[in-house]
Symmetry: C2
């Protein structure tokens, strides 16, 4: 009985495989794999030969095959909430870069912070065979989402929660220090009548920023002459709430010379309101924000603000998650990672002018 005729190949493969490289370099496929993956135990002679072959043939490894063989290629979920979050864009860029590099797949899922919506979202993720979840703000603060996620026993990394719970992994900046730094900067410019607009009380970062602000004032109170108590208004991170707060703050007499808004949207609102009152920013009023979102450099004057390296944070979060998922689950020590922030100085802040600003 003769061997059955060779079946027709499905489709002619154009791509060069590891075998082609091996043949071309005169070694075994395994050696090529070792070289490509940077394993040791390859002599430099062999290594060079293989590398040359790779270059000459334009070889690039097949991801699917690699994932299959090495049991990689897990799916990670990215649960995002409020899509108007200006985080999202940068966040996605960072997360995707990292995911590509680590060979994992990213699955997006949108979710409102309600119990029913989060249950549904988590269920969808699970049905998509997701093995871990990244939680950017503001969802990272939603207890509904978190409960659902921990019920599903999915490892989670929260990003940018002001005060992350001790039992989850998280990546964040030090909101307290950042606010402290910004306030010190305002003081160093010579401002004495400072005002602060708080962020949404639901988000723990809000309180941290406020504490940083007051700490800087405390600090300065010791070294300089007495300073009037700072004015504070409650905001909710929205442009609208910033407008309301600004209206109140600017109506006082004497008006503050500098307003520190807890995020950029509110700072932009302060500028808008100042303009409406005929105040020049920064000549008559210094305004600073927080987050360095798009709007900070869109409006005019551009905002002095605190920049969070959002892309980097997202990348770190993915990496952390992959480590946790790949490591033999034991190593899931609940890591916290603090990422450095930066004070971005633009045109919305300056030293106060000598004369009192005009007051309508």
């Amino acid at each position: 009985m003769s061997k059955p005729a060779r079946r027709a190949r499905r489709r002619p493969r154009a791509d060069v495989t590891i075998k082609d490289v091996a043949r071309h370099a005169g070694v075994s496929p395994m050696t090529v794999s070792r070289v490509v993956n940077g394993s040791k135990y390859v002599s430099s002679t062999t290594r060079n030969a293989v590398q040359r072959a790779v270059r000459e043939l334009g070889y690039s490894p097949n991801l699917a095959a690699r994932n299959l063989a090495s049991e990689r290629g897990e799916r990670l979920g990215l649960l995002y909430g409020n899509p108007s979050s200006a985080y999202l864009s940068e966040f996605l860029v960072g997360a995707l870069e990292s995911a590509t590099r680590l060979g994992v797949q990213l699955v997006l899922e949108k979710c409102e912070p309600t119990p029913v919506a989060s249950r549904r979202a988590v269920r969808r993720l699970l049905s998509g065979a997701v093995v871990g979840v990244v939680l950017p703000p503001p969802l990272c603060e939603s207890s509904a989402v978190r409960t659902e996620l921990s019920a599903a026993r999915l490892p989670v990394v929260t990003v940018a929660a002001g005060r992350p719970p001790a039992d989850t992994m998280c990546v964040r900046i030090d909101d307290y220090s950042a606010a402290l730094e910004m306030t010190r900067y305002l003081i160093s410019l010579g401002h004495e009548r400072l005002a602060f607009i708080k962020g949404h009380p639901n988000q723990s970062a809000s309180e941290e920023r406020w504490l940083g602000f007051t700490a800087a004032l405390q600090e300065a109170a010791g070294t300089r002459r007495a300073r009037p108590a700072p004015r504070m208004e409650q905001g909710f991170f929205s442009f609208r709430s910033g407008l309301d707060a600004a209206r109140k703050l600017l109506a006082t007499d004497p008006a503050p010379t500098a307003i520190f808004a807890s995020n950029d949207d509110m700072a932009a609102a302060v500028i808008a309101e100042a303009h409406r009152r005929g105040l020049d920013v920064p000549r008559d009023l210094t305004v600073v924000g927080f987050d360095d979102t798009l709007i900070a450099s869109t409006i005019w004057p551009e905002l002095t603000t605190i920049q969070q390296p959002i892309a980097r944070m997202a990348a770190e979060a993915i990496e952390m998650l992959v480590t946790a998922v790949r490591g033999n689950r034991r190593s899931t020590e609940r890591q916290h990672k603090l990422i450095p922030h930066a004070l971005i100085s633009r045109q919305s802040a300056a030293a106060p002018t000598a004369g009192a600003p005009p007051h309508p």
Copy 2:
């Protein structure tokens, strides 16, 4: 000679595979595959049994294996330029959703529209084994990028170019009709002194929008009493340029009662300038934008604007690219796809008030 002892398995696999499902349902793995992939030629009895087994075991296919076997899982490049493009976030969401669904990988690459930068970016994509590229604005207009891409013989889908070249695939909205529609709307509100702020002359959508605007005026000229010639200022899509244009437009006497800015950033600038002059929007001045980016609903009053379904467009682009790449290259008929837009009516537009607006 005895058969060598069974090697130790690498790591105990927890996941349920297609074989498990097959055993549980009493069929062959192939049949399970057919059910899961929705092939016909499976009796409903068998199908149901398999589906039940899938549900009971919580089976979900291994992506890597599927991609490997079916020669899917290609890598698609997403070359993005100006990251301040408010498109990016929504665009990425749409692209990723689509990519996940189709089982392709998305590789991001940032690139300035210069020849040298685009050469480098395309080279990086190629070395990443990318087989097609999506080009969102504003890169879709960059001839440097396009040249480099076509030199590399990569299939390309451009998104949201106003006037796409005939030889590339593209997904876009009808900028002309959208502007026409918006202008008709302004006219229907009763506005007679209309002004327009053009977009960046480099982008072909700018001209389309302008043409739509003028067409609507033409149209109205026939049916109603003579209308003063519209005022127009050249802008560059930036907040700053909008500010300059607004300043000029609002300094004229009589000032326009409605300003149509070619994008939201410029419209926001018009509102800012109007406020600075003590004009109320929309009572004293109607302002409308284009794009419905974040800023449109961030500022106050919120902008009446044209919404592009960016996520959907991105998804369509990915889909188109996948079809082109998977199809036997012949079918690369250069497709163009027009996506419907929508006029989003918010608070920045209203009928003009009877009395002439105050004029400083």
